[in-house]
């Protein structure tokens, strides 16, 4: 599948894993951390135009609303660049969201297209059948100039999920479980294709969560075959006609893993690595200072619904603070309309405007030395959410919400 998309975008009949080729890109993305470097590099080219002002999306989401003067300068660089080169898709605070929640929601992601983003979690879009991968700022600068990027065609690993998911187990648990099995280098420079009856039944939000964390296994991109759920999701969102690409029945995979997940427990990744994964039962009794529900991994509507279902009628534990960050303005509003925000406030959670904020230790929930967080985010590296002596545990929204109530890591059933 990845081979087919890259061959089409590179104007080749067919390509094989290991081939190097330059491909035309359908969309390039940057944020307030990576785009300022890209803009600096782009301006060294001395061009008076970008390759296509409709195919570049800039989203200030990492340190916005601006944390301090230097971050305000970075956001300003995006605003000025967008205006100077006539970019159509610049998302100002108030219209923006966490980029990898925003782009699918706003119809920028289509099956069969090639998307690069100067953000490692660009791999999220594979959930809708696109070839999408994170690159650096200089790659983004070159792409803004030429509309091209180079790739080495990756081999594909296939992951088949059989059985039926238990209650309170979702996309985040599946991907954490998978990373726990193969490790943070397990998919180095490979594509990860997710399939099987469990994936067929998974909501689009759950699929986006899975593809989002492909990078945490070292993967180049994720892929889920588009199906009726994908087409229903795209209806009314997508901006232009697209041509989905499907895996061949006799497709060659570097490796295939098959899991029966019928008795899977919710999963928790212990610091300081996303591969350090345990069933939630093994995390029992670990006390938590802060819980974060949000990010490009788990800040979507399904995630907030799941958290609210657990939190309803409960209060956050006195020793714990809970931050809920709807990932986009649309999700925020929808959560309000559905009464989810009421449930969060009633439970004594703080609700924030969309931002990546605490996930990368940017702002809006930084940890002090010795503090411990449980988060629905994607990385638990040393110092990720603040002080070098703070800790981050990763989980899905149901465990996060339940643990906020208990003040320690628990299975959702323990508070319901």
């Amino acid at each position: 599948m990845v081979e087919k998309i890259l061959a089409r975008a590179g104007g080749k009949e067919r390509v094989q894993p290991g081939d190097l080729l330059t491909v035309k890109i359908d969309l390039a993305l940057g944020n307030d951390v990576t785009a300022p470097v890209a803009i600096k590099e782009f301006e060294r080219l001395g061009l008076d135009r970008v390759f296509d002002p409709e195919k570049i999306v800039l989203v200030p989401d990492h340190f916005t609303p601006n944390r301090d003067i230097p971050s305000a300068e970075q956001a300003l660089a995006l605003r000025r660049f967008s205006s100077r080169y006539g970019l159509v898709h610049y998302f100002e605070v108030g219209r923006m969201g966490v980029e990898h929640a925003l782009l699918p929601e706003q119809g920028f992601v289509q099956p069969g297209t090639v998307i690069i983003g100067a953000d490692s979690h660009t791999c999220t879009y594979g959930a809708l059948g696109a070839f999408a991968t994170g690159v650096g700022s200089t790659d983004l600068a070159a792409a803004m100039a030429l509309g091209e990027a180079w790739f080495k065609v990756p081999a594909t690993m296939r992951f088949v999920y059989n059985g039926r998911l238990p209650s309170w187990v979702g996309g985040k648990d599946l991907i954490l479980f998978t990373i726990g099995k193969i490790g943070v280098q397990g998919a180095l420079y490979r594509a990860m294709e997710f399939c099987g009856p469990v994936i067929d039944q998974l909501t689009i939000d759950g699929r986006l969560t899975m593809a989002n964390m492909v990078i945490e296994a070292g993967g180049l991109c994720g892929y889920i075959q588009p199906d009726q759920a994908t087409f229903d999701y795209l209806k009314g969102r997508t901006r232009q006609p697209y041509q989905a690409v499907y895996s061949d029945h006799d497709a060659v995979y570097a490796e295939t893993y098959t899991f029966d997940v019928s008795s899977l427990q919710p999963q928790v990744a212990f610091p300081p690595s996303p591969e350090n994964v345990h069933p939630v039962g093994e995390a029992k009794g670990i006390q938590i200072d802060q819980v974060v529900i949000g990010s490009c991994t788990n800040g979507r509507l399904d995630d907030l619904r799941e958290a609210a279902a657990v939190l309803k009628g409960h209060k956050v534990h006195p020793r714990t603070r809970l931050l809920v960050i709807p990932a986009t303005q649309w999700i925020y509003r929808q959560a309000m309309a559905e009464g989810l925000l009421d449930i969060f406030i009633e439970a004594e959670a703080a609700i924030s405007t969309p931002t990546c904020g605490p996930c990368l230790g940017g702002h809006m929930g930084i940890l002090a030395g010795g503090e411990r967080a449980l988060a629905t985010t994607n990385r638990n590296f040393t110092g990720r959410m603040g002080h070098r002596d703070s800790e981050v545990y990763l989980c899905g929204p149901a465990v996060a919400a339940a643990s906020a109530v208990a003040g320690e890591i628990v299975h959702p059933e323990e508070v319901l």
Binding site: T34, F63, P70, G117, G136, T138, A142, L360, G361, F381
Partner: protein, 167 residues
């Protein structure tokens, strides 16, 4: 290109938050970034690294975020080359794109070397030599188009040359 430098040793999975923590990402200046380079992996590094020193690490160096600030911080610190068992893919392409020399080496150099040992490397031929006893370690040379990017001094310079040709 032949280089000689003193080594700093690191283990596996050195992530980009360790190379340059996100809290410092509000600047794009390599020299400013260098002040905090490796802060969460080895707090002595930024203060004691000398121009031309080599960073020698295990597997999956540079995993995590796509921040180009990571290779920029290393370049700003004057690091002459990063040698690792393997690199995370985005770090790898970022390093090539900004002209930070990198080499992949199968040998367990962090286990075999002592901190501060001197290595001599030949980037074009992919050769690494330990000065103390002349022991040689092999390293695959980069694909030719990456060598071309490095030859131009980085991807932007390479694109500039292409744009000139297109005119």
């Amino acid at each position: 290109m032949k280089l000689e430098g003193r080594t700093w040793l690191f283990g596996d999975n050195i992530d980009t938050d360790a190379i340059i923590p996100a809290r410092y990402l509000t600047t794009t200046d390599p020299v400013e970034l260098a002040r905090f380079c490796m802060e969460d992996a080895d707090p002595r590094f930024a203060g004691q690294v000398r121009p031309g020193d080599f960073v020698v690490a295990g597997k999956n160096f540079g995993c995590g975020s796509s921040r180009e600030h990571a290779p920029l911080a290393l370049k700003g610190a004057g690091v002459g080359c990063v040698i690792a068992n393997s690199f995370a893919q985005i770090f790898f392409r970022n390093a090539v794109n900004i002209g930070l020399p990198i080499l992949e080496c199968e040998a367990d150099l962090p286990g075999l070397l002592l901190p501060g040992e001197i290595l001599q490397i030949d980037l074009a031929r992919g050769q690494i030599v330990r000065l103390a006893d002349g022991r040689m370690f092999a390293s695959p040379p980069l694909p030719s188009f990456m060598q071309e990017i490095i030859k131009y001094g980085g991807l932007i310079e390479c694109v500039q040359a292409r744009l000139k040709k297109m005119d």
